[in-house]
Point group: C2
Chain length 323, copies 2
Amino acid sequence: MIRVGIVGYGNLGRGVEAGLAHAPDMELVGVFTRRAPQTVDTQAPVYPLANILDYKDQIDVLILCGGSLADIPDQGPMLAARFNTVDSYDNHSKINEYYQQMDTIAKQAGTVCVISTGWDPGLFSLQRVIGEAVLPSGVTNTFWGPGVSQGHSDAIRRISGVKAAVQYTLPKEAAMESVRKGEAGELTNAERHTRECFVVLEEGAHPEVVRQTIVTMPAYFEGYHTTVHFITMEELKANHSGIPHGGTVLRTGRTGSKGTLANYSFTLELGSNPEFTASVDIAYARACYRLAEEGAYGAKTVLDIPPKYLSASTEEELRKYKI
Amino acid sequence: MIRVGIVGYGNLGRGVEAGLAHAPDMELVGVFTRRAPQTVDTQAPVYPLANILDYKDQIDVLILCGGSLADIPDQGPMLAARFNTVDSYDNHSKINEYYQQMDTIAKQAGTVCVISTGWDPGLFSLQRVIGEAVLPSGVTNTFWGPGVSQGHSDAIRRISGVKAAVQYTLPKEAAMESVRKGEAGELTNAERHTRECFVVLEEGAHPEVVRQTIVTMPAYFEGYHTTVHFITMEELKANHSGIPHGGTVLRTGRTGSKGTLANYSFTLELGSNPEFTASVDIAYARACYRLAEEGAYGAKTVLDIPPKYLSASTEEELRKYKI
């Protein structure tokens, strides 16, 4: 059994705990948290993060479930010096830097650190790279959604007069179709997506003022086709409390000498974004453990890892039944 | 530049020749054939296969483009003893055996042999394994088509009274939808597909007799919903001379403790089946070359190869721009 520790117990940490029950070859050692352990609502053992080194010999891999903004940049390097780790660091523009930092620490410490896994970055990165490699003449478009964007929902909630809000990112079907037919190239974010907002107002707030503030918000909504619906708190709770997400990586290319069209597309439709991210993290924790057993120390991205390491089956079983 | 040789010049060999023009880091050394070289219609240098050892120092990787039934089982082991090779061996039930044989030879010879690549086996195998690893509680269904099945077209052509024929395998959209909703499990081949045949009759042949022979043919059509259209040779040439194909690998699973639905799906829509297969072979030839440079000798399947090796970009470029 591969012995797994969870660091941080938000949506992702809870997803890892539940996901480990689906993995026949892995077991949960415990949850490590900065909160007071008795305040954490779980059946699993909970320990103070400050004491994690005491559990070093009982843990094969740590799955880091904190946020990419405040937690991972500190926790990753600190924990990589003592443990094999898996994280979902998702600040795309800094992944290479983070990789270099983690790689140096892990090589020195004799650990394996799988960074930036999950679905984007993660499985979507994998598909972008493979799609481009097998269709070198072409364009790649990543469409996100339909799904809840946490960042955009938070941005709306910060507007004065807003009590609660959920924002859905929706892929433009017509844009996807036009790419697929070979008629469009690499589209911008706003050309690929629309945004739909469900907003509960504070008493006395003016809907039109809030709507204008949303649709003109720079970096978040400006330039997008955005729809705003005002609903009650009851409606929000009844119909918008899930965290679905997904999307499509679409590589459209030309093969041969006559420009024959080929479409390579990968789609995720996820009832729960954090549960699926957790599920991917768990598969990469298995790979992390195996790489460490082989002594292949250092930082790894999804691009560095042979796919067979993700599976609980043996190599021979995979060749016999899955290829 | 990675120097590539092509062995065999049918549809796949022609696809590799055209595909190499899309690869900035690879060049074609020549085509090796059992035919008389002057009868091969290409601008590339053509050499007798019997003399291939004379070109050993000019070739980094050979792409084997012969058939899986008669050519690869002989050529693979013979050439693996001297060259790095890539093949699309697609006899699924014998892949593990073939792997063992090639692995022994390649390790002894100090070569790398990538076997059974292309799209199925190949990219579809990769998606089946990753899909199952990230959604361990679930079902995998592979839908083929819409596309031309060479084997089924050939089977129809062997019927007395048939002059020419093309068979399309079509995925059942309703079956796919029902799997996607979590309502269906692992379906049989006949539950996933229908078959549509376009047939040109010999003069005097009886359509109903031919139709009955087709739809009741064991192993090929029996048990399937099969439609037969009789058309003229002109119509066949005008509308059915392409070799499109594709399909979908669909992993439907449950995440978390409450059985949240998640769909992982990978779809190829290919204007030309052999051109795309060639394109995949070329990306794996790049990986083959790199593995050989590293001294990672032996047989490899798509499951053994870190995805980064497929790309012409550097690891750092991939981390910066693709993850």
